[in-house]
């Protein structure tokens, strides 16, 4: 099994009570599979951020890898040890 760290930013964080979640998945898993695992391993967060299919994000949540790239394509396979950032993207007015 491979370990991935999910960092939670924004609205999910105070409500869900988690700052980071360790997820264990098969090596080479996709981001979609990672989100599905989130539903099983951290339902308090998943309930707030996942769509009805349990494998995608509901708007406005997005994913970012290692604080660098935002990703839209959930078929992307993160590297083991990557830190996945789950966030409501910064926005002001």
């Amino acid at each position: 099994m491979a370990k991935y760290t999910l960092e939670v930013y924004g609205v999910g964080r105070p409500q869900a009570g988690e700052r980071e979640v360790e997820l264990e998945l098969e090596p080479g898993s996709t981001l979609e599979e990672l989100l599905a695992a989130l539903g099983q391993q951290a339902p308090a967060i998943a309930d707030r951020v996942l769509g009805v299919d349990g494998r995608s994000l509901r708007p406005p949540y997005v994913l970012n890898i290692n604080g660098l790239s935002f990703v839209e394509d959930l078929s992307l396979r993160p590297q083991e040890g990557d830190r996945i950032l789950l966030m409501a993207p910064p926005a002001g007015g």
């Binding site: 960092e7 930013y9 924004g10 609205v11 964080r13 105070p14 409500q15 707030r48 509901r58 708007p59 406005p60 997005v62 994913l63 970012n64 290692n66 604080g67 660098l68 790239s69 935002f70 990703v71 839209e72 394509d73 950032l85 966030m87 409501a88 993207p89 910064p90 926005a91 002001g92 007015g93």
Partner: protein, 646 residues
Amino acid sequence: MDPGTNRLLLIDLTERRVETRPLPQALFENYLGGVGLGTRLLLEYCPPGVDPLSPKNPLVFVPSPLAGTLIPAGSKHAVVTKSPLTGMIGDSLSGSFWSAALRLAGWQALVVTGAAEALTYLFVDDGRVYFRQATHLAGLECWQTEEAIRRELKDGRVRVATIGPAGERLARYSGVFNDGTRRAGRGGVGAVMGSKKLKAIAVRGTQAVQVANLDAMEREALRLFQVAQGPVTEKYRALGTPANILTLNRLGALPTRNFQQTTFSGAEAISGEELYDKHLVKVAACSGCPVGCEHIYQAGAGSQKQSRTRLDYETLFALGPLCGVDQPNWVIRAADLCDRYGLDTISTGGTIAWAMECFEKGLLSLGDTDGLELTFGNGAALVQMVERIAQRQGLGDLLAEGSRLASQKLGQGSDHWAINVKGLELPGYEPRSLKTMALGYAVGTRGACHNRSPSYEVDMSGKVDRLKAEPGRGAMARDQEDFAAVLDSLVICKFMRKCFSDFYVDAARLYQVSTGLQLGAEELRLAGQRICHAKKAFNIREGWTKPLDWLPPRTLTEPIPDGPAQGVRLTAEELTMMIDDYYQSRGWTPEGLIPRQKLEQLGLEDLWPQISDKGSTPAPGKSDRGGSSLPAGARKPRPSSSLKGG
């Protein structure tokens, strides 16, 4: 629209004269309302080349066409003038009860010209206007002024838009405040009001706002209310925009210590989460808003304990990380003072951060600061300097001019770290690690602004590499500007923008049910372009040249020193490439000027005489992706009717 209700109130403070003029329907079809209509009125009523602080500079107030109706979060208004901070267009938004009151009083626009002999306030009592002496209100803080006027008029329903002491003293980034903590903050609209010796505009509106289709409006309003209480706005309801602090810090996009770093060691201490846990006292909402983003915080200890104010991300960033301050009590106190004195928090923080760097580099001495250790992280000094700016005391007199003018006066290379575009201090999105936002800042008509160009949304969408400058960003920044122009003209609160499944289609429907004008999605898109071009035309008329579309030297010469984006640069060549790409996407000349043909496409040909002598304007070539035809389904724009003599 009912032509009988589309009226402009024109008030000349010098002559103490009041006129009403009809607003032709074509103005609404072409400019919608808010910022768009305000821009058009500015072009009409502002003589070319005026000093922004002279009586001839008009101050234009335009409510949303949705204000005072059932549509949620539509009670907003625009304040438009020639900015004393930039010398370019200054358009700023505020909202809540005052916006609705102006429409309930029967006005679609209010234009104030001239200057009073002594401090005055206006009382717009439905269809009547009273000039009232305000010398007894001199020096009062914003909320004190509101209360004093309501007491004086013996009516709690009266809504007041006012300036504070900073506006009276012509601080170039003072704002016009209303309903407690709502403010048209940016660009110095308060200084223009102060230059007119106009302390406040009180409004009592007791009429009903007529809408075209009440049944349809009820359906639209209900749908929006439901969506606006769902997940797309949960962030604003839960933590408010202060949630951005930790997110942007993690992304290396949190401007810190005057843009010397992109991450802040004290981010956790002033995060939205920390404030929520330890300082939140109340969550409030604007008039008719189902979101309720307004988080009110109170300082927790010591002499700052009585301070209590609204904090949003921009205020928090500007008075926190940008000045290196990680103690919430000082940040809350500084923000509270800005609201009381009537100062824009972004420019206040940006200008003080510039001065802190000057102090640390030895350009300002203890003698210059009257003994104040003006170092990054010194919260007490930050608060003291806000006081002095508002009163124009000591160094505060220089800082009240904004970072651009202050750095020009101080010299010694201090413009290198004067972080502004066209004079407007940058908001809290680091341009070197958000390349589309960098372009949006550079070309912004009112200067560096994340609201008029929400291009950071492109950078955080996953559709582009945010760290890379590349062709194509021009069109993306253009589309973000056009979108914002429509949003700011309708005027719909930005926090509602994700509540639309297809923004232009849904927004057109809102406009139709409210006004009866049958504009479709394509007409709205075209209006967005037209409004952006009208703003640009105003700037060209007032002396804009290509070098003004640029970024502060620091952001183009220093790589990011820290965080996940460490080592990332934005070079002058990259910025030039993106700006050229943007001009091309607009159908402008390589010098950034608007060709006559482009104005004609947008129904703005009457503006050509005002800008035709500003540089060469060859006809656009094949690269004109602005197109020579209107979007499918769009009607040819109607000529804008002149208001003068109408």
